[in-house]
Amino acid sequence: MRRPALLLAVLLLLVSVVPTPADAQQPKRGGVFRIAEREAPSLDPHLSISFLTHSYVSLSYSQLVRFPNGPEQRSPTDFSIVPDLAEKWTISKDGRVYTFQLRRGVRFHNKPPVNAREMTADDVKYSLERFMAKSAFRTRFEPVTGIEVVDRYTVRVTLKEPYAPFLNHLANPSFCAILPREAEDRFKDFNAPEAVIGTGPFVLKSYDKGVRVVFERNPDYFMKGLPYLDGAVIEITPDAAARVAVLRAGKAELPHIWGWLSPEEAKAVQKTNPELSVTPYLIIGLPYISFRVDQPPFNDVRVRRAVSLAIDRKAWNDALLFGEGCVDAGPVPCALKEWKLDAAKMDAAKAKYLVGYDPVEAKRLLAEAGYAKGLTVPMFHWPGYVVPWRSYYELAADNLGKIGITVELKPEEYGKYSSTTMVGKYDKMAMGPSTPFTEVDDFLFGRFAPELPTNLSHVADAELTRMLIAQRREMDPKKRKQIIDDIQRYLADKAYYVYAPQWPQYVAHPQYVKGFLHHDGYGLGMRLLFTWLDK
């Protein structure tokens, strides 16, 4: 009798000691997450448009609604809407009135002068109105006509017309952090570290300017049991080589606010530090050549088509991007899968002007347009963008040279570039990357609607504008998708912009970092919410 009992005891002991796969995945609490990154220009989410500002303070602030992260997300570009401070919401049948029911019992961080007061509908009204008054992004909320406090936990937002991008903009961490009014009354704005008082998962504890920013877990965060980390520290590291060096030396978990490495850096790190986790993600991005389509020679569609047919996208992808890039890069970026209509699914005769390579046809089109002997055009650009941008400009010039378009590369100082070329003030042709917007409207209405400074090609196409407005007003996602597909079909052979391949970004961190899933956009707090350290 004693022997089987002993055997059973030993077996039970073994079972309890040997880790099972389930145990291995069980998140552990504790640890501090270190990030090497440049200093944010300021901390006020409404007064700055810097991705650094928004990523820093996304640890401390919440929004009405947010995008899914960690185990909630289906992909890094899952921009479905999930509750944040708003528990639920309704949209009126005409799509003009949004009523948000707030979570009860959500408290601001326990810092003076707010001192863990409960967040209410007044805070939401104050924050949205402040955003609409002060933020450089405020035109995104241009259709909003009123924000009302219905009761302590209910807010009603009224729009002048249906506006499909509204919830996406509300969920974007660049926009609508919910802030307490008392902090602005005391500190004048939200730039001082003491004024960073939110309802988010981490409390900003200290900020030694130029050195480090220390966040600690918010013990009263409304998602019980989260975050797993005790805290996060941003070690301010201005130099890019130093940021990668601290990752290699184990002094930081992330070499960038989102862990990004360029393909070249990633290949080098993979070779020298195989112990690190280095994963490629297709990100929202869109390298483009823009034209002054309101002026000769690019007011002639044949010339624009010739430019597109001259770009050897496959060769670029193989030579510069290790064959990992997305060749069919625009007008909707590859990573926005929900809205993207692949060129392969379009009429091949039209799609060739989007992704095709045919220098013979390009020369023929140029000759037909009256440029049989070729032409010379400038290409305005900023050479300071990360690798491989400089090669992009040179390859574009080389490809166009082969069909008889002599490109004069016009590098510009950033100040000039951002105040002229980047807002459509240039001559003939320019090249650059697009901001990683999370809402498809920014890539369509923003790039093609007349008179907007983001309409870099100066497109004024009545038929297109009608569709651009229609997709904004269509609240049924399926019907909206159909309009957006139609827009992409319509744009295929217009060549208002010519797109070059988009490369993946690699996310690098040590293997003991678990649950840190990449999600495109300007947030970090929600990514860290589900992150834990297996050590």
Partner: protein, 314 residues
């Protein structure tokens, strides 16, 4: 002497006035402006104009200059950063000890290395140690300090999983930790700045060693050590001190890159970031303060000649 000092101080006023005008104008000549930089690709016209008005950039240039310089002269107010809206002087005072410590350590390293190697080179002219010293000085002159700094940060991280980049700790909090952080940047910067000092030290000492009074010293039967260190070195140091004085702006200027690479929160980094963001008041005010310091240092160096060579009188 008193008159000389007063005259130099009086001369500093137009110098600093010119510096302030040049920096102010150069910033305005740079394409773009801080308002456009602040709204970047989202430059919707109403916001841009409002921001420009808010920052006072829509006023005439002379009015902007008069307000800035007037506040400094009349109230000692160096203005606020456009981006952080924090007072510039507070930030400068907070960061200055880091840059000062880096500059002092760099000078120490460069002078110790430069003077020692220079003495050996001169005292053992055309020997193997002289050749080694001269090669070292050419090496130090030709290697850019920022390149050496990146190599020192990156290569140990690849080879040994170690890097000399640390989180900055002030000297007042932990002197040992602070020196651990500051020593490698100072060595990197100091070694590259030691090159010219080595060469000047060598040629200056060779000149002095050929003078009559040194020949007299030899004939008196003094030891070589006593002749070189006691009789020749003091006179040979004058051009070295001039050189260190002339290099002063380089020590401050170089700290811009060194601080960025080694994560040191000093004035150089403050200036560098402000320049990148076209933060006009920061660039103008920091420039003016540093220019004033350089003017004062040069005066002090000129006065130190009298101490080294009693024949010099002001």
């Amino acid at each position: 002497m008193k008159q000389y000092v007063l005259r130099r101080v009086a001369l500093a006023v137009p110098t600093l006035f010119l510096v302030s005008i040049i920096v102010f104008l150069l910033l305005r000549l740079m394409p773009g402006d801080v308002a456009t930089r602040m709204v970047e690709g989202h430059a919707y016209a109403p916001t841009l104009a409002a921001l420009r008005h808010d920052l006072g950039l829509d006023r005439p240039m002379h009015a902007q200059y008069a307000e800035w310089i007037g506040n400094i002269v009349l109230r000692g107010d160096f203005g606020r950063s456009y981006w952080t809206r924090q007072p510039i002087l507070d930030e400068f005072v907070r960061r200055f000890p880091v840059t000062l410590e880096l500059a002092l350590l760099t000078i120490l390293v460069s002078v110790v290395i430069g003077v020692l190697v220079g003495i050996v080179s001169a005292a053992r002219q055309d020997s193997l140690s002289d050749y080694v010293g001269r090669v070292l000085s050419i090496f130090a002159l030709s290697v850019p300090y920022f390149g050496l700094a990146v190599v020192v940060v990156v290569l140990p991280a690849i080879w040994f999983r170690w890097t000399p980049v640390w989180t900055y700790v002030p000297f007042t909090v932990s002197p040992a930790e602070n020196l651990k952080i500051m020593l490698i940047p100072a060595l990197v910067f100091g070694v590259t700045r030691a090159g010219p000092i080595m060469r000047i030290m060598r040629s200056s000492l060779l000149d002095v060693l050929r003078q009559d009074y040194i020949r007299t010293a030899w004939s008196k039967g003094l030891s070589e050590r006593r002749i070189v260190l006691r009789h020749a070195l003091k006179n040979a140091l004058i051009p070295v001190i001039s050189l260190v004085g002339l290099q002063m702006p380089l020590y401050i200027g170089g700290s811009v890159i060194i601080e960025a690479i080694f994560r040191l929160p000093g004035v150089g980094l403050f200036f560098f970031e402000a320049l990148g963001k076209l933060d006009y008041p920061v660039v103008q005010s920091v420039n003016l303060i540093i220019a004033a310091m350089v003017v004062c240092l040069n005066l002090l160096i000129d006065l130190s000649y009298a101490f080294l060579d009693p024949r010099i009188r002001y």
